[in-house]
Symmetry: C2
Subunit: 380 residues, 2 copies
């Protein structure tokens, strides 16, 4: 039995991870589940999966949960609880399924212990890719992506040599505004932006998909995961989200990985790697799907994509600034405080004003993240 | 330097094999080249590639070549010459690039010597799959497909476990008559049937593509190459011939291999396997291609496909009968003796009339092949 710690068990990826684990009763046991606030969703997970411990980041809600479940399992609280769980508990696989930047510190703890790190939390690699990949190498921690695109690339790399890769081609659905003009971005409602054509995901990532910042973050993530030159990561729009990404080799051959848009597939692959286990998920019927389309991305319209390429090129803390500014900007948009079209403006502003530190250590990254958030929060 | 013997060096695959070898001056040397009759094309190949020996199957033409090149290299002749080259000469890689059934005997000689067998000649596996795969295992001969579809499957299998394959999905262009009705097959001209939309190939295989017998033969070929259950080999029509074939795994994930329709790509892969070497072949631009389409094949219209599934299911010498009857029928069509629509009728007739021998040895296969050819040749 592989022992699993899920960081963020009540989010979209966390719930799907438990859906996968439910399918394989003899394969996995849950060491710990963590949440920020959603103890109402965590409670039934505790009774079904019997974790040794849970962590609630909100301390007050953590105390409440402790009262409710009266000793059913250990309840840790706060950021310290997250660090304690990641650094002390007995597990084999760390599932990084938290939203945004907050997953970095516990992920680093898991890496230092040489665990299998299955990562849906792309911000970890975006803001601290250099540090994370170095620590993984030093501590012999295996990094397996859960993002469907990176899982696709990871799968296409199996049995191939890294130095024979010519190009990575990330596919992007193009989101709900693929066929809208740029001027439309001034009047986009939150509801429209949350209406993704293919994927059912959390709010933050859904907005990132609409602005294509999600693809921008994935470019940076791919750079760190696969150690490929920055110029060799391409994006192609593929509205049906059937081909999840591709790898082109030096002989011109391309391998693509396909699947229905269901996160359970890359999650299961990451949990069972290097094996594949049978499941009864729906299968692709290409004749029924009929058509797969491809377009070049419009980086004039989707400015966030261009900003991400720029931040990757700049290096240092630029991706950290990009990410933090984006998180705050998206939050502002979701709260109705700014227009959809202002998201890239706030990020551009932050990238211009906040100093870029090269080869940052953890402390510098946290400081840069904090500084950026405060700066963007204070912007009109 | 890998030493290469090319069986059929003046055909489409043979010429492309030499085109690939020309690109890598330090990697390969030519041990021998063989042709049936085309000594005019063979002669410049001799001067460019300096083989130790050549074989001309037509004895008279072989004598003529010998006079022409006056000792430049050894010239063997006839079927015996082919066997001698395959069984005696010093080479590492055997390229089976001959058309039709005639490649079997020399291929068996190469297998018995434990050579690397790169096989474009699908008939070898169609008629003698059981024997060939058993001999390969016994003699530790590695079989690498050159057919673009099977190369795609082979590439998608790399790094994966055979017992975790759920399904093989062969793509088919659908040929020039994809959008014609079945009644149209009564009046198809040879010229129309030879006008393949995507691939430039020899006459026999181009007609097989038009009738979809080519895909039928490939189903049987895939069965022997990849040792998968007969019911787990599917065909999907994909008119653009960009995805060359796919493998679906037990977790529902699909890997596809893509490339421009250029046989140099699978030939190079087979010659350099397990390495990939860089080349300057044109690359795929999916955004420019724009659309990939998929349909279910119409087995009522393309009867040859149904006949091939039936022959695979029947086993024994049924695929040998299918193949021999098809070769004769295609030849009759090319000579204007029968209609395009009669090709499947002649094959059906042969499959009904000629006895099926189970687990045939070489002798039985040759006899069955001969009997079938004579039978179909004599048919109205």
């Amino acid at each position: 039995m592989k022992k699993v710690l899920i960081l963020g068990s009540t989010g979209s990826i966390g719930i799907n991870t438990l859906n996968v684990i439910r399918n394989f009763p003899g394969e996995f046991e849950i060491t710990a589940l963590t949440v920020n606030t959603r103890i109402d969703l965590l409670e039934p997970q505790i009774y079904e999966f019997n974790p040794k411990a849970v962590v609630v980041k909100d301390e007050k809600l953590g105390q409440e949960l402790k009262r409710r479940i009266s000793g059913k399992c250990e309840v840790l609280v706060g950021h310290e609880g997250l660090i304690e769980a990641a650094s002390k508990l007995d597990y084999d696989i760390f599932v990084g399924a938290m939203v945004g930047f907050s997953g970095l510190a516990p992920t680093l703890e898991a890496i230092k212990r040489g665990k299998i790190i299955t990562l849906a939390n792309k911000e970890t690699l975006v803001v601290a890719g250099e540090l994370v990949t170095r620590l993984c190498k030093e501590n012999n921690a295996k990094l397996i992506p859960i993002d469907s695109e990176h899982s696709a690339i990871f799968q296409c790399m199996e049995g191939e040599k890294r130095n024979q890769v010519e190009k990575i081609i990330l596919t992007a659905s193009g989101g709900p505004f693929l066929n809208k003009s740029k001027s439309y971005f001034d009047n986009v409602s939150v509801k429209e932006a949350l209406n993704h054509p293919n994927w059912k995901m959390g709010n933050k990532i859904t907005i990132d998909s609409a602005s294509m910042m999600n693809k921008g973050l994935e470019i940076i993530e791919a750079y760190w995961l696969f150690g490929i030159e920055k110029k060799k990561i391409d994006v192609v729009i593929h509205p049906q989200s059937i081909i999840h990404s591709m790898v082109q080799f030096i002989d011109g051959s391309i391998k693509a990985q396909m699947g229905l848009p269901d996160m359970k597939l890359p999650i299961q692959y990451a949990l069972t790697y290097p094996e594949r286990l049978p499941n009864d998920f729906s299968r692709i019927d290409l004749a029924q799907i009929g058509t797969l389309n491809f377009f070049s991305p419009d980086t004039e319209k989707f400015e966030c994509l261009k900003l991400a390429y720029g931040a990757l090129e700049a290096g240092g803390t630029a991706p950290c600034i990009l990410n933090a500014a984006n998180e705050v900007a998206v939050d502002k948009f979701l709260k109705g405080k700014i227009k959809f079209s202002q998201i890239p403006h706030l990020i551009t502003n932050a990238l211009e004003k906040i100093e870029n530190h090269k080869s940052p250590d953890v402390k510098t990254i946290f400081e840069c993240d904090k500084e950026t958030r405060e700066y963007v929060l204070a912007l009109g």
